[in-house]
């Protein structure tokens, strides 16, 4: 019997999907099947999927129904004992499934997550840090989405999933968070504290819908009586805005974070955050004017080793598969 069903929802991203699929195919020591749900792609995705033949099972939605509906469809078609999700732009380390299954059996748990790093469209590592422990994850899920890297990180026992709705199609940014809360109520997860997942940040994309994220956090609060950490959430949105190059919006979110925050944030972290934002903006302006060099001196990074570990397997994956043009 198939151990794991890997479920990949995709839409119009054939180039990135190809790399994601290769990161699935190099999984070791696990008996798995790959279920791709094509959510109404209009590019060459169908042709690319067909060329892979019987290595994958493909299901298509004629009309786009959203990523949650696509994942739910994948779950319905899955034959494996476990289901693991992978988004069409994210990557897995070769031992991701193997190590997670080991951890699940060792701790006798029904769902598991791993550590992650964030990567850019050209596969450089942006950020990453070790994940929180299972106890912390369960305890703090009502405060923030403590499972890193979204859905691509998690593997879960199929018969243990809540039916009929696994991923809630009326949520977009928080459909995974919503599911983790419901899973955590049934039992604690297992954790593999290694950087096994790389999830992609698309800079300045239209999908960076910060207000939408905010309203969905409201919905999570309403649904589960959670108390979302507003300050932390605003800090997170500020970081996203900063990365997308929206200096003024970032500043606004930092200010909101300070207003919603505890004294510690206001006194210790707020000013350094704003200072870093201003200096980043200034630096990029100076660079544009030709005064400064492109590469600025690196900051001290407490999670350097973690990123190095991820870089090893990401580089190997990318080198073995040259990517010509990535959108």
């Amino acid at each position: 019997m198939t151990e794991v069903s890997v479920i990949i929802p995709t839409r119009n991203r054939s180039k990135l999907l190809e790399l994601s699929l290769r990161s699935v195919f190099w999984q070791r020591n696990v008996d798995f099947e790959t279920v791709v749900v094509d959510d109404g792609s209009t590019d060459d995705t169908p042709r690319m999927l067909q060329s892979l033949g019987d290595r994958i099972r493909v299901f298509s939605h004629e009309r786009a129904q959203g990523v949650s509906a696509a994942r739910n469809r994948g779950i319905a078609e899955a034959r494996g004992e476990w289901v693991a999700f992978l988004d069409d732009d994210d990557l897995w380390a070769p031992d991701k499934l193997e190590l997670q299954l080991q951890a699940l059996r060792r701790d006798d748990r029904r769902w598991a997550y791993a550590g992650a790093v964030e990567i850019t469209t050209d596969n450089r590592i942006l950020a990453g840090r070790p994940p929180a422990s299972p106890e912390t994850v369960v305890k703090e899920l009502m405060v923030r989405n403590t499972v890193p890297a979204g859905a691509s990180n998690v593997i879960v026992r199929k018969e243990w999933l809540p039916i009929p709705t696994v991923f809630d199609g009326s949520l977009y940014h928080s459909a995974d968070w919503d599911l983790w809360i419901r899973l955590a109520r049934r039992g604690p997860p297992a954790c593999v504290a290694k950087p096994l997942v790389a999830y992609r940040f698309h800079p300045g994309s239209a999908s960076l819908d910060l207000d939408g994220m905010f309203s969905e956090a409201d919905e999570i609060e309403r649904r589960y009586g959670a108390r979302v950490d507003r300050s932390g959430f605003n800090q997170y949105l500020a970081r996203l805005a900063k990365r997308a190059g929206w200096g003024r919006r970032a500043l606004r979110y930092y200010c909101r974070a300070a207003m919603a925050g505890n004294r510690r944030y206001v006194t210790r972290e707020f000013l350094p955050d704003v200072w870093r934002l201003c200096s980043d903006v200034l630096w990029s302006r100076m660079h544009r004017l030709g005064i400064a060099q492109r590469s600025r001196p690196p900051r001290r990074d407490p999670h350097r080793l973690w990123k190095e570990e991820a870089r090893l397997w990401i580089d190997r994956l990318v080198r073995e598969v040259p990517l010509q043009s990535v959108k």
Partner: protein, 316 residues
Amino acid sequence: MDVSVVIPTRNRSALLSRTLRSALRQERVDFEVIVVDEASNDDTPALLSALGDHRVRVLRHEFPRGLSAARNHGAEHARAEWLAFLDDDDLWAPDKLFRQVSAASEAGRDWAYTGSVNIENGRIVRSAPAPSEEEVVAALPRFPVLPGGGSNVIVRRKTFTQVGPFDTRLDCGGEDWELWIRLAKHGWPAGVREPLMAKRIHSSNMFGETDRIVRATTVIQTLHDTPIDWGRMYQWLAERYLRQGRWLTALNMSTKAAAYGQVAGAAAMLLPHVRLRLRRRLGLQEEPPPILSDHRAVLARAWLREFEPILDDSAG
């Protein structure tokens, strides 16, 4: 046959033709449409006889019997396994019935709901997330949590006969909610959370007849002996009064909502309106209404385009 669609209608031929088109566009289900014409005296009968679609049957009432009775009459003539109701001004996504039927069959449930958006003059004006199944079962006796009114739910015909028809005492407001309460007592629903229907908001729809809803709510409270969540109820009503421009009544309702504990909600609803009125008073330039660009609005726009000229299309 999979689904019987019951459409009660009265003197709304222009809207009805769009609604019928969205019903007849349903994909991958075998269905029939039963239009119950409530003594229309406009060109509705002409429109219906000109359809020439073998899937459509028409029942005509010579005197209007009311919405509940019309739906019940249509349901009596249904032959399919599932029953779906559609109001004559609402719109369905082409995969609405299929996805509800398959979700319910897979989960072994006897009724199913979906998400909804509200449209007004070609704009999506509301696109809140759909409630979860747990929430529906827990909150229905206290508050009409299901969006979209009578056009949302599909139910097994067997269950409909068992749980009972729409209550004809509640007409024009609350009759759908009352039946959903009984359905929730019968068993759990299956939810398709994406917005697969659109509720139209216009001056002549039931939605406006807010006073009747208050009365209906009191009736439901006695009928089912349930603790109504008046805080949310008053806030919901205030929203409707605001939409009608009945500013003072809305203020009154919000105060009541606040008194029942919905302080933040009432304030959040009133603030944009206060701002708008202030700007008007000060003679400042009016802002265009915001274009909703959340995930649900985008999904809904993708299928709405086919049936309705959508003004805020550029955001999709």
